[in-house]
Symmetry: C2
Subunit: 221 residues, 2 copies
């Protein structure tokens, strides 16, 4: 039985690659490439700094990721431009099925469980009018360590106060779903881009192509 | 003063992308792409599994990385082909300046400090005739956790029995050099591909384009 759902934010509810258009305006023709490297580095830094014991919040890592991408592609930039582009992270586009999916999941308690720092989460959720769907916004910032460290999923369980396996953890990031499953949650992996299952020692309970598909699948459970 | 040098193996002494030719033989035209995804996943799994507390040795992660790459690119494969391609990891090509560089570093004690499992390290080092240059081969396998966790660098210090800052840690992986610096080593980053400095909270003591350049730089130190 699924009593509550915890959603990853970046990549799952909000499309991190919706920065592409803004990047293309500033660096014509480079948007997609910037966005790929930016996201890759943002995540790598979260894993590497967690291991190093050298935490900086996700907003800082997002900045570092963008800077790295621009340096790698040798694109001109200054602090003003960085701030202007980073502002898009407060206004990321949600995936098109988010509203319908959240309403379908809705009689259950829904929370966000994100790497994002509280301030950046607050802004993207309120700018998208999504506050009404969730009872709580859990940030790893409380622990100063990132996913997929088990402590992060344990924090979610603590706040939800429901048995592990009765929590459906929803992520489009295969490694995040694997981290949640490794901790003991029931997991739904939104495999939007037809990617292989990550080789991290377990498999998601549900593999679907969209949020709405998952919402309909677990409706009766 | 530099009293001893610790070298990363994969990417620093041995060219992980020397698998490209073998991959191209089996999957024509796909070698470079396979090699990129393979390496990316091998490393991601090392970070993610270290955080999850779900260790598998580096040989297993190397296998998982290759499998993921082939599934992602939808290329046909079976266990026989996987074993045949993986065998190249026991025979990776060294970078062209390795012999000259190691001989230049040589009056000092030189060790390998690698994510690699003891068996795979043994094979690639002996197949390349490199046993004579090193006094010790330190594997993270003893700790069941991967770089850049500080414990790994601490293990190196323990075996070398020299002060932290008198150990020169050499890696072509920017994040590995950052991990070593974070622990307190003197670091040399071999930046072969003109990449930006990783945004991990510190900078390498030496940034060079090749092993031999670093060897010559620290000769008198």
């Amino acid at each position: 039985m699924i009593k509550a759902c915890a959603f990853d934010a970046y990549g799952t509810i909000y499309d991190v690659h919706s920065v592409t258009e803004k990047c293309d305006q500033v660096w014509p023709g480079k948007g997609a490439q910037i966005s790929q490297i930016w996201r890759l580095k943002q995540l790598q830094y979260s894993w590497q700094r967690s291991l190093m014991g050298n935490y900086q919040n996700f907003w800082e890592l997002t900045k570092f990721g963008l800077k790295y991408a621009l340096e790698m592609l040798k694109l001109p930039h200054d602090d003003k431009i960085l701030d202007e582009v980073l502002d898009k992270y407060y206004h990321l586009d949600p995936y098109s099925d988010v509203t319908e999916a959240l309403e379908t999941f809705a009689p259950r308690e829904l929370v966000i469980m994100s790497n994002g720092s509280p301030d950046m989460l607050d802004k993207v959720i309120s700018n998208n009018g999504h506050y009404k769907y969730f009872t709580r916004f859990i940030s790893v910032d409380e622990l100063k360590v990132f996913k997929p460290k088990p402590d992060v999923y344990a924090l979610t369980e603590k706040y939800l106060n429901v048995k592990k396996e009765e929590i459906l953890f929803v992520s489009c990031n295969g490694w995040d779903a694997a981290g949640a499953k490794n901790y003991g949650f029931t997991t739904g992996w939104i495999n939007r881009n037809d990617e292989p299952i990550e080789k991290l020692g377990n498999e998601p309970d549900f593999i679907v192509k969209s949020l709405i598909e998952l919402a309909q699948k677990v409706k009766g459970l």
